[in-house]
Amino acid sequence: MELKIPEVKQRWPNPINTVKIGATRDEGGTRTSTVTVGGATSLPFYHFEGTIPHPPVVAMEVWDIPGEEWPEAVKEPFADVMHDPGEWAKRCVEYGAELVCLRLKGCDPNGANKSPEEAARAARRVLESVGVPLIIWGCGNDEKDNEVFPLVAEAVAGENCLLGTITEDNYKTLTALCTAYKHKLIAESPVDINIAKQVNILALDAGFKLEDIVIFPQSGALGYGIEYVYSIMERTRIAGLKGDKVMAMPILCDIGIEVWGVKEAKAPVPEWGDPKLRGPLWEATTAYVYLLAGADILIMRHPEAVRATKATIAKLMGLDGR
């Protein structure tokens, strides 16, 4: 008896937006490589029913001040370069970073409270030290970020960076700067699909192109709310593929900062096994979950986790020779 298998391939009418980050000399910048994400016409790694032209990419995180609070296991690979964002960024590229994410942690008014000029210098320093494209992330204090970004966005003009984040409550300054200096934009929302949509609409109304937005639905570490983000990401991706233009953006996950704050990654709990092995695996496993949910850009910290995540992306893209 021959039983025919019914057809279950699905056609998704709307491709996810393609976003390019970085600009080479020919394109008005100084990058030696650029990164393109998005463009998929099916769910993550559903190669059997669509095309996935650009694999997810891994960015590594650099601060404008030493990461004193980083747990030992993830500080150690960078301990000798944390005093200099440029050297730190170089180390990331050696470890396989496809982008560098400069987090302007030092600008936090409740911390080192660095000036906008210092932030711009840090950005230039990273730019001059590596050839990969840049993500630049504010300190999270709205008022301060709005003072810092005008100088930073100008300092990296022409480099087609990805800057973030804008939120429902604070989007005007950065959106205007990204328009003026031709950067891409990270739109942040608090694990909420309606707000994600709303932030994109606000940027659109402010004259920004939807095609230049990457969305950040916030990220939780494995074991700390990851399932909420997972489902928001799946719903977002499905909506985008079905035709909702305001939801058809590549998705960014900011993982390192979350993972290295939870005790499963760093605490010396003997019954959980060696934290030196456990921490990187916790970060990698968090990344794996987000890849399946639709992550396009992952910001990570530990070199071992980055290596394993990139190897997994290659497998999921069918690029490992299988």
Partner: protein, 449 residues
């Protein structure tokens, strides 16, 4: 799932409008059956064929399979959706760990004991490894297998998976432990006749594996023909992407097309060279439709992340993740110890509890019933108000257990400080906004005086 419509059912009826079912027409009766308001049995003239067809059509699109017996019985399958946000995933992916049959006596005992110990408590829930997969290495020693299976059986309460495609080695193993309902792996295009006979004779669930999806469908039909009913599908792919693709197709065919030959739970192997790679494969299979994932690693640092992925993905998204609202004690608090207030959103509570533990300062945590909402959401929703906090703290009688009259509230609701203070006369201290700040806060700023 595809349901039979009234018209479909009408076609199976005698179409005589005899009224013996107490409905005026066969059509009216058919509509009621389709709506599941009456049973087909109410028609005394319905043929056996019609009953079978209807029974088949109304069966769930994916079978549920039970492995093992007793308190550790493992249930897999019975899933109803493709995405957890559509409803929920019901039966969490089983984690099975391999035990090869060529280990020495001592090594075998240690490995099984280690597997038994792989249990943890996360967010108030016990999580652990579900199955032990005893692997026949097939190195010319088929008499050894049954003995090893028996020894493993004696050393663990977990259900077993018998990884043994050699019917000669399998038969004696089943003879001794079939009563504990192991899952047998696997019927293949080469051995299916003997394997399905064994599964049928010993009434144990059987995994089916073929090199292609078409081959799998054909094999399932054959195996069913031999009387084996409780089946588990091995997608049989080479490597992560092929297995993932087949798991997705099997799930879609089962749920969207009610394609019966693939309407079973799955079992898949994570086969890789390092713990990092094994975790990648296992994670992908947990997220995307793996019923049972067989792995190699037995170290707690390898297992804890996988059990956590499984716990997270299989959490019911429709139910707020709440814990019991009551007074919790961390360490051995006494009359000098601080009293902290938080919500009953599980994630908030366990994060706070973890940080209080980190601080090494024994403390009371008074949990207010916020109906599973976190601090900010609960505040916005009027579920974390001064009134509710005061009532909870008073109900728990915690202020009578401490010498000081100080209450620490989350930094995010600092605005409630004055109201609580004025109502009660307690001294209200505003704690950190982020739980991560609790250890420093308790060590440096807390004082009962």
């Amino acid at each position: 799932m595809k349901k039979l419509t009234g018209i479909d059912i009408y076609k199976l009826l005698p179409k005589t409008n005899c009224g013996d079912c107490h409905f005026p027409t066969c059509m009216a009766f058919a509509m009621q059956v389709a709506a599941k308001k009456v049973a087909l049995e109410q028609c005394p003239h319905a043929s056996a064929e019609a009953k079978a067809a209807l029974g088949e059509a109304q069966a769930p699109p994916m079978r549920t399979v039970r492995i093992g017996t007793g308190e550790r019985e493992f249930v897999v399958g019975g899933e109803t959706v493709l995405f957890r946000h559509e409803e929920r995933f019901y039966h969490p992916t089983g984690i099975a760990i391999r035990v090869p049959d060529n280990l020495g006596e001592q090594e075998l005992a240690e490995r099984v004991e280690r597997i038994n110990q792989l249990r943890f408590v996360r967010v108030g829930q016990e999580i652990g490894v579900d199955l032990v997969a005893v692997e026949h290495r097939g190195d010319g020693n088929s008499s050894r297998y049954a003995g090893v299976v028996e020894r493993v059986r004696g050393r663990t309460k977990l259900p077993l998976v018998l990884l043994c495609p050699d019917p000669k080695a399998l038969a004696p193993a089943l003879e001794s432990i079939a009563g504990s309902r192991p899952l047998v792996w696997a019927a293949t295009p080469e051995n299916w006749e003997e394997m399905s006979s064994l599964a049928a004779r010993y009434k144990v669930p059987l995994a089916v594996r073929a090199p292609t999806l078409e081959g799998l469908v054909e094999l399932v039909e054959r195996v069913k023909g031999k009387g084996a009913e409780e089946l588990v599908l091995d997608p049989g792919g080479r490597g992560l992407l092929e297995n993932l693709t087949r798991l997705i197709l099997i799930r879609r065919l089962a749920l969207e097309k009610t394609f019966r030959p693939l309407g079973y739970p799955t079992l898949v192997f994570a086969e890789s060279n390092s713990p990092m790679e094994e975790a990648a494969e296992a994670t992908a299979y947990i997220c995307k439709y793996g019923g049972i994932v067989v792995i190699e690693g037995v170290e707690s640092w390898e297992i804890l992340p996988l059990l956590t992925v499984r716990q997270n993905i299989y959490t019911d998204p429709q139910v707020p993740n709440a814990i019991e609202a009551k007074l919790y004690e961390v360490g051995a608090p006494n009359e000098e110890s601080p009293v902290l207030v938080t919500t009953n959103f599980a994630l908030t509570y366990f994060t706070v509890e973890g940080e209080v533990e980190n601080s090494k300062v024994p403390a009371y945590i008074a949990v207010v019933n916020t109906e599973g909402l976190g601090v900010l959401n609960a505040y916005a929703d009027d579920k974390f108000t001064a009134e509710r906090i005061i009532k909870a703290v008073k109900d728990y009688g915690v202020m009578e257990r401490v010498r000081h009259k100080k209450l620490i509230i989350p930094g995010l609701v600092a605005v409630l400080k004055m109201e609580i203070q004025e109502e009660t006369g307690w001294e209200v201290i505003v704690g950190p906004e982020d739980a991560a700040g609790i250890p420093a806060f308790l060590r440096n700023e807390w004082s009962p005086n």
